[in-house]
């Protein structure tokens, strides 16, 4: 019964869905205020979701209906599953096993793959171009992200998130060594969430809505919810790995710390997407391999050296 409560209500699906919507609202509101606009009211993401649920699902006649319908569910399941292995306001996660870092990174790759498959099977030209762009982009940001997160794990000498956060709470200032990795994974997260300057797969003025061009109604609502939840999961992941302080505080205070960290990361993401123009896909890949990957490597080398010194 307690497992059911954890998975479905708190901090499982329901909490995630609601906080994802709040995250979307905060992101949109900050974006709007920085652009000198009023921005949406607080219930806008929820209203959008409910409206989309009420709309008709249109599946293109040419599309593979099974794949088309399955992909939003796959995406949603993957992000929700990955969340239960990430420590949020305590040093240990809800569930944990040896090697869960790899599992979470793998689970977080699935949404992008579902965008690809969903876009590909909807057979629209725009969707196909968008899905190819999604995957091309995946190869560019995923490696720096993995490297920077694994560098942090390397210093803690573990394969699980819980042990990693435990290690960093025991050595309160070690997280400062990982600041380069923090920057790298923040930028990579922008790519994962397909937000400007990496919103290339859904560049409206070029390919309409990219992979989601043919999606409508409930299926589209679930894709959007996935992206919202991915924002929370991604921010929690970065907070757990790179900002691991305040985790030993009392539960309530720890929760406040957690919220502040998430807000800080979402705020940074909104700020970046406000001040930058969209890159071209070739520029994006150039940037990731020429600048982001070397920085991630540098972080890896630093942590290797540190490990030699500190142990």
């Amino acid at each position: 019964m307690s497992a059911f409560f954890h998975l479905i209500i708190f901090p499982g699906f329901l909490f995630l869905a609601l906080s994802g919507m709040v995250a979307e609202f905060i992101d949109r509101k900050i974006y709007a205020r920085l652009q000198n606009r009023v921005g949406p009211p607080w219930y806008q993401p929820l209203a959008d979701f409910i409206k989309l649920l009420g709309k008709e699902d249109i599946i293109p006649a040419e599309a593979n209906a099974t794949m088309f319908k399955l992909m939003p569910l796959f995406a949603l399941t993957a992000v929700v599953t990955s969340f239960i292995y990430i420590p949020m306001w305590k040093t240990d996660a809800l569930y944990s096993f040896n090697g869960d870092i790899v599992a979470v990174l793998y689970l977080l790759t699935i949404p992008t793959l579902t965008f690809f498959i969903g876009g590909w099977y909807s057979t629209s030209l725009y969707a196909r171009l968008g899905s190819v762009r999604s995957v091309t982009q995946l190869f560019a940001y995923e490696v720096p992200m993995f490297m920077s997160i694994l560098a942090a794990a390397l210093l803690a000498n573990t394969w699980t998130f819980s042990e990693m956060t435990f290690f960093y709470s025991k050595h309160p200032f070690y997280w400062l060594f990982n600041l380069i990795g923090f920057g790298v994974s923040l930028i990579a997260l922008l790519g994962k969430l397909e937000k400007a300057p990496f919103d290339i797969p859904e560049a409206e003025t070029e390919i309409v809505a990219g992979s989601f061009t043919e999606y409508s109604g409930r299926l589209f609502a679930f894709f959007r919810l996935t992206i919202d939840i991915e924002m929370i999961v991604g921010a929690s992941l970065i907070a757990a790995v790179f900002l691991p302080f305040g985790l030993t505080a009392k539960p309530f205070v720890g929760f406040i710390y957690y919220l502040l960290k998430i807000l800080f990361i979402i705020g940074l993401l909104s700020l970046i997407r406000t001040v930058l123009a969209r890159m071209r896909i070739d520029q994006m890949i150039d940037f990731c391999w020429r600048h982001l990957a070397p920085f991630a490597l540098l972080q890896l080398v630093i942590n290797l050296v540190l490990k030699g010194i500190l142990y």
Binding site: T136, A277, R278, M279
Partner: protein, 415 residues
């Protein structure tokens, strides 16, 4: 990465007539290999409104308002251009004050159009913050226009023989106040456009149109000026009050979208200069003269510099109160062929900004030509070659030699 795409199949993707990148209907059928553009087919003609024919059915004074609706952005340019042609036909002396007010509105319109363009350019490269900022600032000039003319878009200030509304000293003060704010904002945008790295990455080297190509394809307006061609009707064939005002024609040698952005932004500063001079030297006197309803027979061509480039109107009168023929050549028509050249070997991601960089107005450009081959009277349809030959012959008789124009243009490297 792109080399590995070479073996990929080519495919055709439709951009338009309905597409988020386009504000008006126009069809670009793009042949792609991977992300690379192999070829583009352009097709106009989705918004033909029959304005020229409608002009023939109305009186001159009604036509002023109809012609103003050719374009929603450069509406004042179109009505000025038409009014100038009619005034030339009727040998009407337009009062000085009216000419100054026309110039003022024309420059305010240029400001609003260039700000609008800046926002659209920002949106096309996925930089919505620029869109929001520049459109917010555009409201200042829209308010000024509404205050002076009573309207935000189709100002309705021109009439044959003058203008319909005078400008009061209080209004002039408000204009100067608005212009001061706008000048400050424009300097800020120039700073952003020339320093912000993602913008420069997306703009420079994109949509290249060499000076030679620009001449050959007949590019006009900011598009030509960004390719280093000093071509501006305000200077070349001064109309309204432009001959009495001092301003520079902005040119740039980048030849790409970045150059076009810089040209437009710097032109804004020139517009502020012009507005200040107009308000300072505004002559006293009447703003309009009485004009007879019937215009003497004859034909006239008039040119104006719209924010997008040269706008041409041709009016033929038969002595009645309605024109026999009105022909409008909107600036976009001259630039649209250059787009094809600019898109060669670019990526799909560059397509929206390259198209937007000529500041297109597709609906203004739409004209219809029917060639009825069954009609025995008009059997001899002139092809392009025949037409060129005819025009060369026509001018040779008048003492101008336009044969082998291409090689002569090449010699004029100081244009």
């Amino acid at each position: 990465m792109h080399e590995s795409h070479e073996h990929e199949k080519e495919f055709r993707i439709p951009i338009g007539p309905q597409h988020p990148a386009l504000k008006e209907p126009m069809s670009f059928s793009v042949v792609l290999r991977g992300e690379k553009i192999i070829g583009v087919d352009l097709r106009l003609g989705y918004n033909h409104r029959g304005i020229e024919k409608a002009c023939e059915e109305r009186t001159y004074i009604q036509d002023v308002y109809l012609v103003e609706r050719v374009c929603g952005i450069c509406s004042h340019t179109h009505s000025s251009c038409f009014v100038q042609a009619v005034e030339e036909l009727g040998k009407i002396e337009t009062p000085k004050r009216a000419l100054y007010i026309r110039t003022l509105i024309a420059e305010l319109e240029r400001i609003h159009s260039h700000f609008l363009w800046l926002g659209i350019a920002g949106h096309e490269i996925g930089f919505d913050t620029l869109l929001m900022y520049s459109w917010r600032d555009r409201e200042i000039v829209m308010d000024i226009l509404a205050q002076i003319t009573g309207n935000r878009v189709n100002y309705g200030i021109n009439t044959i023989g003058g203008v319909r509304r005078d400008i009061s000293p209080e209004q002039a003060k408000d204009v100067l106040k608005g212009v001061a704010t706008l000048e400050e904002r424009t300097k800020y945008y120039i700073e952003i456009a020339t320093q912000e790295s993602t913008i420069i990455q997306r703009l420079s080297g994109v949509g290249v149109l060499s000076q030679e190509d620009a001449l050959k394809l007949g590019a006009i307006g900011p598009t030509a000026r960004a390719s280093g061609i000093k071509r501006d009707i305000r200077k070349d064939d001064p109309y309204a009050a432009y001959s009495e005002l001092s301003f520079d024609v902005i040119t740039d040698t980048h030849c790409d979208v970045y150059g076009r952005t810089v040209v437009r932004l710097k032109e804004l500063l020139e517009s502020y200069k012009i507005i200040r001079q107009v308000l300072k030297n505004l002559p006293e006197g009447p703003i309009t003269v009485k004009v007879p309803r019937k215009i003497p027979a004859g034909e006239a061509v008039s040119r104006c510099e719209a924010p997008r480039g040269e706008d041409v109107h041709y009016v033929k009168s038969n002595g009645t109160e309605k024109p026999e023929r009105v022909k409008v050549r909107a600036p976009t028509l001259a630039n649209i062929q250059a787009v094809k050249r600019m898109l060669q070997d670019r990526y799909l991601a560059d397509m929206p900004i390259v198209v937007a960089a000529i500041d297109p107005c597709f609906s203004c450009t739409d004209r219809l030509v029917t060639i009825d081959e069954t009609d025995s009277k008009h059997k001899d349809v002139m092809l392009w070659q025949d037409l060129t030959k005819y025009s060369v012959e026509y001018y040779r008789e008048k003492g101008f030699d336009f044969s082998s124009l291409g090689s002569k243009l090449k010699k004029l490297d100081n244009i």
